[in-house]
Each structure stands twice: as C-alpha cells, then as structure tokens.
Symmetry: C2
Subunit: 233 residues, 2 copies
C-alpha cells in the first residue's frame, strides 16, 4: 500500500546568516532515512544564506524599493500589492520579499538560485548524516482564481519536480493527453500542513515517496513556464 | 509532534452510475477513524452521480460541444485547449470535461455541486460506518505560470477550506498581512501523491489533521474567488 508519513521538525530555533542549516536539520529527531524528502521553507534558507536587506524601520514604505528591485516585470498592481515576475521566473506577490518573521528593520529576499540552495542542503545532509534525501525549498504563493495561499516548491534537488503519474494510457487504453504532475508542489503543500508559520516549524520530512521520483530534478527547468508559452502573461 | 499519515484506498474497483460510493469507501481497509480526511477524486464522484454524457466514439471532435456547454466563459483558447470558467466559478481546462478513465463513447462532467457531493458522502459515511470524517472532492487542474498539474479541492464537507494558520502576529510581534491558507487544496494535492491515476486508486485518507480545522466549510464560498475581485479575469 502506498503510504506517506509527514512530520514537522521541531526545535530548529532561530536561523541566522551563516548558520549551518543542514547541520541543524541533521541533528534533529527522528533521524533522516535514505529516500526521505526534506522540505525547508524559503524563510530559513534566505536567512541562512544572508539574503536580508536593511530597511528603515520607521518608514512604512521602506520595503517598496526592495520589492521593485526584485520585480523584473509587474503583471498587476492593486494598491500596495504587486504581482511580480521575479528574475527566477516565479510569479508571486511583491517580488517574493518577506517582512514577516524577520527582525524589524530587515526584509528577506528569495534565494538567488533556490535549486542550488536545495542541492547544497542535500549535499551537506549527505556529508553530515550520511543520508541520501531529496530536498525541496518551499514558499507560500497566492494563485489567480482561487482564494487562500498554498505552499509550492521554488527549488528542489534529488527529486523530479514533475512526474508522469499516469503512464501513457489510462486503464481503458485511451491515450491521456495530460499526464505531468508537479509532485514537488504537492509535497511542499503537504509539508505546510504540519508546519504552521507562527509555530516556528520551518522544516518538514515526508517519508514514503515513490522511489522512482528520486532522481535529479529542478524547479527552474521543470516548473517555471517560459513566458512565451504562458497563456496568462 | 504534528504528524500526518496518508494512504491510498485500494480495491475500490470500477464505479458506475448509481453506485453507493460511501458504502464502498466504508467497506475498505483500514477502517476510518473520527477526524480522518477522505479525499475522493472527481472522476468517481461524477460516475457515481451519473454525470456522464454520451458522445459519438467515432468523431474525434464529439466532445467539443460538451466542453462549450460546460464553459460559461472562455478565458483563453489555444488550439483545442479552452481555459474555461465553469458555472461553479472554477477556472480549468476544457470546462472540467474528462475523457480519460471513462468508457469510450462517454464524457464525464464535473458534479453539479461538488460541496454537496462531499456532504452527501460525509453523511453517508457517518450513517454507514459511524464515523465523523471530513470529505474533499478533488480534481486535477493546471495553473498559469507553473508547469505540471496539481490536484485541488472542488468540494469539501466537515473541514474549513481556508484556515488562518498564522495567528494575527508572527513570532516577532509583527502583524502578518497574509494569513489564509487553502488547506483543502494542500490536502487534495497530498492525496494525489498516493493515488496515481492509472493505478486506479480514486480515494485516499489523511489522518492526523489539526482538529480545529474540522468544522463546516465549503469550496464555493471560501476558495472560489469572485470574478470582480480577481486580478486575472
């Protein structure tokens, strides 16, 4: 029987620039196993990588230029909200700039290359804990047409971002026109269910993922849709 | 520790119009517990509800009028693909009309009221198995800007569709501007990870969900964004 277990990793504590995030994760209980998928929120990855910029804490508009700098194209604007395309090709609110759970006077930016961030954590977990895991860096995005936010993958390593879950024919022998499932996004969303941002659980582990998905993968090449192929840009 | 378990319910077999879907689910192993979330794919809900229309099996374009009838507004067209708004307010490919895993000569339509479908299954599971569970009806939708499909909720019962996961302030006392998480969509996506369409597992169970989420909820009122509030319609 196909069965997944998902848990939040507690006791991670505050993460600061230069912190050894993989070392912190490797020390957590229960121990990681080969084949686990480790989902790490963008916030702690950005903090560990020092992707923080100082802003005037007394100016309520101080983050605006930071957002503009992270926006290569503004798809929509409404009031203070910008729906941005980032230089990674993500479409998200406010260029991915985050002011929550960051010290007053600072803004957190997205990692420069979240797939690379995931690879580094994965490699460091192999070195520290001797385990071969997959790593997903997640962030919380809105969606058009649907209310409520969901966590999606902005980077991954050791797992295909998109998997053909259906085979080429369904169980009636009919060819399936559409077959590609963004499993890293579904895993990022599943991980959020055990996190709860205010509870300070920035890492979750998913155990039991289909072993055939655990191969080289990346969000940039597999998930990010080129603008010229997109019906909504 | 916050921990979820997710498994696919095997042995459901073929579902036909008029079948007692709740009875089939209630008979499956392992037994359901109070507080479980049962995720059922649209395909078997539509089949059980008889939401099937005959189409000429020898005409490769026979499904086109069916798609147009299910489309109240076409947001985009490209080749044979229509990005439709359905009468439920969902935005999805081809009006939600599905030809895969359906007998040749038939097309499956979305349930008329998927929240009601979820409530009926939930009520029947209470009557048959004596359990108080939440039910989500899921479907596989594409997204703008991101490649790959994910499963989302089109109906739910016994669970809030959107939950404030963050409280009103983060752990630094800063007010959080955005706090509403579409947990039913994340649960639908998590469930797909143990399904695999071609493997014929149309039902999954999630155990361990936060009990505070298990209250009356619906996709229609909580997830479907009114067109006039949408930046991309």
């Amino acid at each position: 029987m196909s069965r997944l277990e998902i848990w939040g990793v507690e006791g991670i504590g505050e993460v600061r620039p230069g912190d050894d995030l993989a070392g912190i994760i490797a020390a957590a209980e229960p121990a990681l196993h080969d084949g686990d998928v480790v989902v790490v929120t963008q916030k702690v990855v950005s903090k560990a990588e020092g992707r923080l910029v100082p802003i005037d804490p007394d100016d309520p508009q101080a983050h605006r230029p930071v957002i503009e700098a992270e926006t290569v194209r503004a798809l929509r604007r409404r009031g203070d909200l910008v729906i941005s395309e980032t230089r990674h090709g993500f479409v998200c609110a406010n260029g991915g700039v985050d002011l929550s759970n960051v010290d007053r006077g600072w803004a957190a930016l997205l990692p420069i290359d979240p797939d690379r961030s995931a690879r580094r954590i994965r490699d460091a977990l192999a070195a520290r804990a001797g385990v071969r895991v997959a790593v997903i860096v997640s962030d919380t995005f809105g969606r058009p047409w649907r209310q409520g936010l969901t966590d999606v993958a902005i980077g991954c390593a050791g797992i295909a971002a998109v998997v053909n879950l259906r085979g080429t024919r369904d169980d009636r022998g009919r060819e399936l026109a559409v077959t590609e499932v963004a499993v890293v996004d579904e895993l990022a969303g599943a991980a959020e269910l055990v996190m709860g941002k205010a509870a300070g659980i920035p890492v979750a582990v998913v155990r039991g993922v289909d072993g055939s998905w655990l191969r080289p993968g990346e969000v940039r090449g597999e998930i990010v849709r080129p603008a010229h192929e997109d019906l909504f840009r």
